[in-house]
Each structure stands twice: as structure tokens, then as C-alpha cells.
Symmetry: C2
Subunit: 244 residues, 2 copies
């Protein structure tokens, strides 16, 4: 065993090949509902099954670059996309072909360009997170982790502004929180909170052209502020069940 360790340290190529992939959990909001980008696999394994977009990293390519490339291949989006690393998954057997270590990424997009199927997918679509098909590999687990991370990040970072355009109303911002957290928020308290957190949003002095679709006065327009962290944080409503 020591001999084996010794050899392995010098020449990891003595071990069976390992593939490294990135999988992207791309989130956007459509019609007030959180949606995730999925692709339909065009080849085995899991042919025809929906999966997170992703693929092998290329030589000379950083992990973040690979994730951005994979996302761009399916959506064409490169600008205005926030992307960050999530976690890695490497259980033996998670891919039946060979040992695959996958690094998951979380991406947030403000608008919703119609997705395009990439080279190894037959279709691509946005799915509401409450109406998901069965996913390939361990992608359901990855997606679950990604959603929890996204929900937590909204609490203490201004990430929600990445889901809306460069100018937005407080209500639009509240819509983001409600979509990601899946629960309605108190409009008045949310308004007070957003304006009281230093650097979260800053006023543009402008207002919307007209009132909301279903009535109401014109709303003031804001842009993202310069805060990197929200302090004090904007916490989710009580979630007793997750504490114990």
C-alpha cells in the first residue's frame, strides 16, 4: 500500500483516467416563477433524459471559463450573467462510463433568451423548479444544493439584482425574492428593508412610464448599489423545520 502511494504520488497517470466536467445550474425568473435551464441528452447514458447543461473541461481552460462556455453554448448569454462555483461531486459510479468528477456552477440571468440545444443535446428548455422532469445522473441532488445556495445567497448578498435589468422597481426586486424563496413577502416591510440596507440599491430619480399592469401608481426606479454584502441581512421568513 505504501508502495502504491509512492507510485501514485509520482505518476497519477498510473491510475485509471478521470474526467472532469462542469455542470451549470442556470436560474432565471419567468412569469414570477423560478426556472432552471435543462437540456435533453442526445446520447447515452441517459439518452433522452433531461439534465443540467455541462460538459468536459478543455485543456488550457479554467474551471470558471468552462462553466461560462457551457452556459453560453446553450443560451448565447455571456453578458450580465452572474456565475459562481457551487460544489463538486465525484462518487464512483455517478457516471456509468468512467470516473467523472463534476464541478457544479450556479448562474443567474436577468432575462430569458430562448435556450438553444448544444452539440450533444437534442433540446433545451427552461423548467419551473416545481415542475421538473426526472433528471439524469445525480443532477437532482446537484439542483437541490444549488437552490438552497441561491436562496441563502439572496439573504446576505445583493444577488437578487442579477435577476432584474439594470433599472428596476422595488416590487420587481420583491418578485425575485418571492420567486426564489417560493413565499410571499410583506410589501411594506420589504420596501423599508431594501432602502435601509446601505448600498443595496440606489435611486435613479426616474419612475416607470406607467403604472403596473393591474393598476397602482408609477414606481420609482433603482439601480444596484455598491454593496457586496447586505448588512443587516434580509432574512427568509421563519423556517423552523430547517433549524433542527
Amino acid at each position: 500500500m505504501d508502495e502504491r502511494e509512492y507510485l501514485a504520488a509520482y505518476d497519477p497517470r498510473a491510475y485509471p483516467a478521470i474526467a472532469v466536467t462542469v455542470d451549470v445550474v442556470a436560474l432565471t425568473i419567468i412569469g414570477g416563477v423560478l426556472h432552471v435551464l435543462l437540456v435533453e441528452r442526445g446520447e447515452p447514458p441517459f439518452l433522452g433524459r433531461w439534465a443540467l447543461p455541462g460538459g468536459f473541461i478543455r485543456p488550457g481552460e479554467d474551471l470558471d471559463e468552462a462553466a461560462a462556455r457551457e452556459l453560453a453554448e446553450e443560451t448565447g448569454m455571456t453578458d450580465r450573467v452572474h456565475i459562481e462555483q457551487l460544489a463538486s461531486y465525484g462518487s464512483p459510479g455517478r457516471d456509468p462510463r468512467m470516473r467523472v468528477v463534476s464541478i457544479s456552477y450556479l448562474a443567474f440571468a436577468p432575462d430569458l433568451p430562448d435556450p438553444q440545444a448544444g452539440s450533444d443535446a437534442t433540446d433545451a428548455a427552461w423548467y419551473g423548479v416545481d415542475r421538473l422532469p426526472k433528471l439524469a445522473f445525480d443532477h437532482e441532488r446537484i439542483l437541490g444544493h444549488a437552490l438552497e445556495r441561491a436562496r441563502a445567497k439572496l439573504e446576505y448578498t445583493p444577488l437578487a439584482t442579477a435577476f432584474v435589468g439594470p433599472m428596476f422597481t422595488i416590487s420587481e426586486l420583491r418578485g425575485v425574492y418571492e420567486a426564489v424563496w417560493g413565499a410571499p413577502l410583506h410589501a411594506g416591510n420589504f420596501h423599508r428593508k431594501v432602502l435601509s440596507v446601505p448600498g443595496f440599491v440606489e435611486s435613479t430619480g426616474e419612475t416607470t412610464e406607467s403604472g403596473g399592469a393591474r393598476g397602482g401608481p408609477r414606481a420609482k426606479l433603482y439601480r444596484a448599489g455598491d454593496a457586496r454584502l447586505l448588512h443587516p441581512a434580509l432574512l427568509r421568513p421563519e423556517r423552523e423545520e430547517e433549524i433542527r
Copy 2:
């Protein structure tokens, strides 16, 4: 390019081999100061330089298992060690030998078994986080991320209890926070807070055998409670600089 993608999807072995390693940031508290476990490299590259303990994953071994194994090889610790995945690093060139993707892990240990040098290290030691030597690879960056994660985790999880024994006093717990955060805390307020957060600690009914080394009454002993999250969180003192 499309042809290349196609081939790559079918046979990633067509690409140059990639090695996958785990690197462990093991933290403990010695004399009230946060320490990290480092090993002195016994082989190139970076021969003689200090580095985070780590190594290549083995066939059939899950990532978490690999991290636990690497930690155990250097410390002999297996019980009472909290270990969790942190982030992955895969920049081309971060290891001069070949393409290496490294998955970092964070580990917390309550006591401090004297470290043992593993097979590919000539020495191993606990270093105070304020007195670090120059590290190999991009391990300084990894360590920086790990420390920030550890500091953040203390805020909203009962992780601090992983640094102390099965029974502990509130002051010992405060010592953990002060060591990790690197700042003194208000004893009275800390005490009130710890007892008011549901499920953080629970009373054992016992007290210490004697007072503290420098005087003071016997302290009540507590054990970790059943909370997985601290609510409301125990926040760090203001850190204005990190917000913007």
C-alpha cells in the same frame, strides 16, 4: 471544433490526462490561537515548501472519503472531526506537472494530536494562522477561502462546538469564536446569546471541577444541542470594510 467536441464527449480520454486531488484545510485551536495543519513537501514540485495536506483520489473512493483519508494519514484523527467540502481549483498551470483539479476540504478538530508526516511529506505541524510560512501551489488562496468560510460558518451554524470537547463551558465556546474571528467578544452578551439561541447548547447540570486557571467561579458545563442552524445567527462584530 464541433468535431472535436463530439469526440470529446464520447471519449474524454482523447484529452490529456487530468489528475484530481483533495486538499484539506484542517483547523484546530491551540492556546487560544487558530492553527492550520501543514506538511512539508518531500518531493518536487515545491520540495521543502509547506503545503496543505492532500493527495490524489483513488479509484473507487468518494471525494469525501479521500479527504478524510488524507486527514487521517497526517493526524490519525478519524473521530470527532467535522469535515466538509469547500471549493475546487483547476486553473491550468496551478501544478507544473500536469493538469490538476483540486477539491478543498475544511476540517475542524477539537483537540490537537501531534501531526505525523505522511508518506510524501518530510514533516507536519500546526501553524498559527498569523504566522504562516510561504505555501506551495495556490494553497495560500485556498487557505484564505477556507478561513473566510470557517468564520462565516460560525455565525449561523453550531460548528464552534466541533472545536471543543463533548462538554464545555460558555467561556470555552467564546474562546473558539474569538480565536477564529480574531477579535474579543463581550462575555456577558455572548453568554446571553448562546443560551437564547434554541438548540445551540444544552445544560448538563454539571460544573467544572475547579475555577479557571486565573481565578473565577466554577463554570457550568454544556453539551452541543440539536440545532443545525443558529437562529437568530450569532453575527461577527461590524466589518465595514467587507460590505462594499
